[in-house]
Structure formats: C-alpha cells, structure tokens
C-alpha cells in the first residue's frame, strides 16, 4: 500500500446523525484542505484521526497511515502530529525542554542537545533553548511548536486552524514555513480552516463542507 494518509469512508456522528463524511487520500508532501463554517465538525474529524474523539461523538470508517490501519491505535502510537491555533507549548518547560519532549528517546545527551540546537537554528531561534516559552512572541512560539512537532518524527501532520491567531504579516510567513517544512519531510498534511487565503496558499485539494444535514 502507498505512503500517505488515507481516510476511508470516515463518517463522524453526533447523536446518531452524520456530521461529515470524508473519503480521500493525501499523498506525501500534499496538503488537503477542509473548509467550512465552525460547528460543522472539522476539528472533530482531526480528533478522530489523532485518536482523541470526545465521548459524545462516534465515528465509522478507517484511517490508514503509510499503509497501516491506525483507526484503533492508541493516540501516542499513531505518529500523527497536530498543530492548533494556540502554540500549546508546555508552560512548565523551557523552550529546549519543550523540544526535548518531542524528540524520541535515545541518543547521548550531547547528541540530543545538538539536535535541539539545530532545530532552533533552522527557524532562526539560535540560543533560545533556556528561555521561558511565556516570554516569546507569538511568531516565535508558533515556530517552536512546529519544530517540537517535527522533532517527534510524525508520519502525517494535521493543522487545526493553525494560523488563526497570528496577525496578517506573520501569518503568511509562518504558513510558508509550515508548508515548506512539511513538504521537505514529505509529510501528508490535512488542514482545517475557514480562511480562504490559507486554503489557497496550501495549494492542494480543497473540500468544502456545509451545515446541511445528511452530508
């Protein structure tokens, strides 16, 4: 079976009525954008893929990642990365420790530190390892959050309105950075957004959902 993320007849239900139904493949390096107004169940779809579906929803269908069926895998064993509109850096850890949290275990201390420093340098944050994340600007936090997720070596990346909190100038910059990094690592990307500009910049297939019942 091919590389990439495949959603096979995935349907999300709330109170027995179907909210959304998606049947789509995302090839490595491609971006699939799902658009639609809030409340349509976009984020719920992502929760299903990460294995954290809230208990008032149910879902059918299968999720395949690089040919493996991960529909029923534990959340932490799926290797599906996700970014939210908030950076969600762990407030009790330094920037470096946040990145170390993402890094898989193993390797010497020196080696791990080197990888963290390299990750920071890659996004222009050299020497930020000891900083308190709360002292960073919005754009800096977004970059750390991205690198933390990439260091965990995910096989797919989900984006949940990832740029909604950033102001216009920063937005394009962070967006390009995220898509560039995902493409260079050949990650299939699934983005949900209600921003047409984000969808256009992604340059991939776009699915538009609406509130009508039955879809």
């Amino acid at each position: 079976m091919d590389k990439g993320l495949s959603l096979r007849n995935v349907t999300i239900f709330k109170d027995r009525s179907a909210l959304i139904r998606v049947h789509q493949d995302v090839a490595p390096g491609d971006v699939l954008t799902i658009m639609g107004p809030s409340g349509v169940g976009k984020s719920t779809l992502l929760a299903f893929i990460t294995g954290t579906l809230p208990s008032d929803f149910t879902a059918t269908g299968r999720v395949l990642l690089d040919g493996h069926d991960i529909t029923h895998a534990a959340a932490h064993q799926r290797r599906v990365g996700i970014l939210f509109q908030d950076d969600l850096l762990f407030p009790h850890l330094s920037v470096g420790a946040n990145l170390a949290f993402g890094l898989p275990p193993g390797g010497s201390r020196h080696n791990r530190q080197a990888r963290i420093d390299a990750a920071l340098a890659e996004v222009g944050l050299d020497g930020f390892a000891q900083r308190d994340p709360a002292t960073l600007s919005g754009g800096q936090k977004a970059r750390v959050a991205l690198m933390r997720m990439l260091l965990s070596e995910p096989c797919a990346l989900l984006l949940d309105e990832p740029f909604a909190r950033l102001d216009a100038a920063l937005r394009a910059q962070v967006r390009d950075m995220v898509f560039d990094r995902a493409r260079s690592r050949a990650l299939p990307v699934l983005m949900v957004t209600h921003d047409a500009e984000d969808a256009q910049a992604a340059g991939g297939a776009i699915i538009t959902l609406c509130n009508e019942s039955g879809y």
Binding site: A47, T50, G51, T52, P54, S55, A74, A75, H76, Q77, R78, R79, V80, G81, I82, F84, D86, L88, F90, P91, H92, F101, G102, P104, D132, P133, A134, T135, R148, M149, S152, P154
Partner: protein, 564 residues
C-alpha cells in the same frame, strides 16, 4: 502491577474508602442500639437502650440544643455570607473581606472555639480591655457566657468558622453563575445592588452551594469539639452525651450511646428534610417578592449590617488567635489588666515537649491520610479523563455522604464494631477514619482545576508520542502543581482538625494536637490551651503557606504558570 490495571480500580477503591467506614459504622451503631453487643455479653434484639435513653432527664434539652444550635448556626452563617456577597461582591471592600476570611478556613474548629472563649468569657479579653473603665468591674462578673445553657456561645463558635467556609464555596459558585451581568441588568432596571443580586443571582448560587450548606447543617447539629469547649455542660448537647457514654468504662453504656447515635442520625435526617421543605417555602416567598417588584430601599442598611456581621465574625477568629498567643506567653495576668504583667517563654518550655510529641503524631497521621486521599483523587479524575466518563450530579453526592452522616452516628459504631471483631484500635484505623473526612475535601478542591486543564495539551503530548502515564506525570501534574499542593494542604488541615475520629477510633491512645487541646478544655489552664491551640493552628496553616510558596519557587522562571 501495571498501572493500566490499577487505574480502573481507583474509583472503586475511592468509593470503598468513602462509604465503607460509614456503612460499617452505621451497622455497628444500629446493632447495639437494639441491645446486641457480644463484646459485653449482650445479645438483642431489645428496646432497652432506647428506654434508657428516654429515661435520661436531660434528653429533651440535649435534643433541643442539638437542633437549635445547628439550625441557628447554619441560618446565621448562610445569611451573613449571602447578604455580604449580595451587598458587596465586586467591590474593593469585598476583596478585603475575602482575603481576611480565606486563611481562616484552615484554622481548626477547636482553636477558633478556644480563642472565642478567651475573648468573650467574663474574664476574657473583651472584659479586660473594657474594665474597669467602661464596665466598672474589678473582678470577673458572675455571668455564664461560655457554656451558657442556651448554647449561644457554641452557636457563635460555629458561625465564625462556617462563614469563611460558605464564603469560599459561594465565591467558587459565583464564577459559574454569570453574576456580574445579571446584577448589571438588574441595576439598570432600578434595583439596588443587594436586592438585584438576591432576586437574580441568589437562586442560581444557592442551587450550586446546596450540598455544602447541608454539610454545615449536619456538622453543626452534631459537632463535639466546639460543644465541649463552648457548649453547655448540664445537660450537654446530644452528641457530647453520646461521646461521654462511649467513654464510660462499663461497656453496657455503649448501648445507650448507640441509641443516642441512632437518634442523632434521625434528627439530622429530619432537619435536612425540613430544611429542604423550607427551601421550597423560601422560593415561593421569593417569587412573590420578585413579582411585587420592590427595588430595595433598605439595601444600604442591610448591606452595612451584613458587612459588620462578616467583619465581626472574621475579627472574632483573628483576635481569638491573638489572645491564644498572649496567653501562651503570659506570666501573671490579673483580672482587669489588658495585658499580662510579664511576657515569658516558661509556658512554651513547659508544654513544648508535649506539643512536639503530639505534633509528630498529628503530622504523621495527616500526611499519610492526605497522601492517600490525593492519590485516590488523582486516580479518579485521571480515570474519568482517560475513559472519557461523564460524572453525574448524583455521583457527586457520594462525596458528601461522609460529611452528611453525623460523625457521632457512625464513628461510635465503627469503634464498637472493631471491638466486636477484636480489631486493634490505634494509629492505622485512625488514618483510615481520617481519610473518610479528608478525601471529600481533597477531591472537591482538586476536581475543578484538574478538569479545567486544557485537554489539547494532552492531545499535543500524545501526538508527541507521550504515553497516557507520561502525559500525567510529565505534563498534567507539573502544570497543576499549585492546585495539587493546595488540595494536599486542604487535606492536611482537615486531618489536623479531626477530633472525634481520632478520639474514638484511636481508643484514647492516639494523642494529636487536637485531642490534647480539647482534653485541656475542662481543666481551664489557659496557658496550656494557648500553646496547644497555637500549635494546632500552625499545623493547619503552615502547609497552606507552603502550597503557595513552593510553586512560586519551583516555577519562578515560568511566567505562564504564575497565575495558574
């Protein structure tokens, strides 16, 4: 054993820890109440214990005291808290009062009661400060203020301790009641601040604080330590009489004690039912009041009176602690003098070693009980989170059962049951008995912050390949360090303040600061009481200070957690 298998067991274990002792204790109460006590060679069933109880001449008075003081203390403390909140919430004055009252929550009942006694007694500090100039007294007047036969001093002692409790509960409820906007709308419609609050916010807030109010009523009706320190002696309240009978060397007196415990339980159940009906009556009157449209002309007066009552209540505890401190270092202190002739460390040197030993026992029991409660609480909350359980309002009542069943109804039974089984009384069972009372408060303290934690942090951590245990230990608990430590401090304070559980389940052999302090009540050695009372207060308060200090130090370089 793997944690995966342990976690689902914790909610069941918690239920057992909460309800097991209560149910066993009630069983152990009902049997001897009907004449069945194999340890004393008696087998029932018979109604003799109840006949003996009814034959006691003091019974009507004891029952009246129990019901009267309990209901009055609950009504008064609830009225003070509601009116102060109605008249002042959102103002700077309210902020000050809130900050004054919050630490008082941790002050043990016994210490607050002793402090109050030292203030208002005929030879107390208030009389000394005003004599002979204002009163003309040069010796203590012959008045029965403390231990008065109406139980008014005891009621006051309960009020000053329940006001901070109900205030903090109310503050927690206010956040969810959308209070500010309702009051703003009401004021725009021409209502006074207090009337507007009572007509719009009170019904919602009361619905939320109802369980704690019931706890206050059940507790106030059956309290023992405050009653021993401030309550009448001949006859005492029903609960004190039960404890007296339990302490009698002749085991057959336990039958009458058990009958009294059953009566105590029925009284509390009856009072709770009447209170529930009263709620309906108040609601009906309230609806008529709302429909009549009165805007509240008397608001400023009522708000002023409520504030004075709240301030007096806070001041009584503060000054009480101060006077405990003064007595603990007092040399000779003749009557109308405002202060002792000489300040001396002699009292501390004399009672210090004894208090240190009691402190060790107190601390050991409190730390173990609070730790057990904390582990069970975190286990329950984590199981709820991992298995995506919805906790119903009804399940919440399980937490309140140990606080609603009067202590004097099930603790004597638990002791008797252990006696029948030949189980050893002592430190271990005392700790388990403390857990029964500590666990609900630890749970209620931690549940909201634990559930309010941003679950997306968990999603992110899982996406970063952290296991569920890893998320708990590496992300959730560190982020929740402050509420976890606060809940632990709450648990310690509750355990430190336990009197009856230590006395009865310890079989009189486990000496904590609280049991030692209350035991001093009859002797009236004010210097000893001062030393023990202060130590007891310190044992309850210091953990709270640490719960504030430790996270501030550990996370001193983490701005994101400073207000968490």
């Amino acid at each position: 054993m793997s944690r995966r298998r342990l976690l689902p067991l914790l909610p069941a274990l918690t239920m057992l820890a909460l309800l097991g002792p209560v149910l066993a204790g009630l069983w152990g109460t009902v049997l001897p109440a009907f004449g069945h006590l194999p340890a004393a060679g008696l087998t029932g069933p018979s109604l003799d214990p109840f006949r003996d109880l009814l034959g006691w001449a003091g019974l009507p008075r004891a029952v009246m005291l129990s019901v009267g003081t309990g209901v009055l203390a609950t009504v008064m403390s609830l009225a003070i808290v509601m009116l102060v909140t109605a008249g002042w919430s959102g103002t700077r004055v309210f902020g000050v009062l809130e900050r004054l009252l919050s630490p008082l929550l941790a002050v043990p009942h016994a210490a607050a009661a002793f402090g109050l006694a030292f203030l208002i007694a005929p030879s107390g500090w208030l009389a000394r400060l005003t004599s002979p100039e204002l009163t003309g007294w040069d010796r203590p007047p012959d008045l029965l203020i403390v231990h008065d036969s109406w139980g008014l001093a005891m009621t006051a002692g309960l009020i000053v301790k329940e006001v901070p409790f109900l205030l903090l509960i109310t503050l927690a409820a206010l956040g969810q009641a959308d209070a500010q906007r309702s009051v703003r709308v009401a004021r725009a419609l021409g209502y006074g601040r207090l009337t507007g609050w009572l007509k719009t916010v009170f019904p919602r807030v009361y619905a939320q604080i109802r369980p704690p109010v019931y706890v206050v009523l059940a507790y106030a009706m059956s309290v023992v330590d405050v009653a021993v320190i401030l309550g009448p002696n001949t006859p005492p309240s029903l609960s004190v009489q039960i404890v007296k009978l339990m302490a009698h060397p002749d085991l057959s007196h336990r039958l009458e004690a058990a009958a009294g415990a059953v009566l105590q339980l029925l009284l509390v159940i009856g009072a709770l039912l009447v209170w529930r009906l009263g709620e309906g009556a108040v609601a009906a009157l309230g609806r008529r009041w709302i429909a009549a449209g009165a805007r509240g002309k008397a608001d400023p007066v009522i708000a002023g009176l409520a504030l004075v009552a709240g301030a007096v209540s806070a001041l009584a505890v503060f000054l009480g602690l101060v006077v405990l401190g003064v007595w603990s270092v007092a040399g000779f202190w003749g009557f109308p003098d405002a202060l002792p002739d000489k300040i001396t460390m002699a009292n501390w040197l004399r009672f210090g070693p004894g208090t240190l030993q009691a402190l060790g026992e107190t601390a050991f029991i409190a730390v173990v009980a609070a730790l057990v409660a904390l582990v069970l609480t975190i286990g329950c909350l984590e199981a709820e989170y991992r298995h995506k359980l919805r906790v119903s309002q009804r399940a919440l009542w399980v937490l309140y059962i140990p606080l609603l069943v009067p202590q004097t109804a099930f603790l004597p039974g638990l002791q008797t049951l252990m006696l029948n089984l030949g189980a050893e009384v002592g430190r271990g069972p005392v700790i388990l008995a403390h857990v029964v009372f500590v666990l609900p408060y630890v749970f209620l303290s931690l549940a909201d912050p634990f559930r309010a934690w941003d679950a997306r942090m968990g999603v992110i951590a899982a996406a970063l390949r952290a296991s569920p245990d890893g998320i708990l230990w590496r992300v959730r608990l560190p982020m929740l360090l402050r509420p976890v430590l606060t809940a632990f401090a709450v648990g310690l304070a509750v355990s430190v303040g336990q009197y009856l559980a230590t006395l009865l389940i310890g079989g009189g052999r486990v000496a904590t600061l609280t049991t030692e302090a209350v035991a001093l009540a009859s002797g009236g050695d004010r210097r000893a009481i001062g030393v023990y009372g202060l130590m007891q207060t310190g044992a309850a308060l210091v953990p709270f200070a640490l719960a504030l200090l430790i996270p501030a130090l550990v996370w001193r370089n983490r701005k994101g957690l400073r207000h968490g």
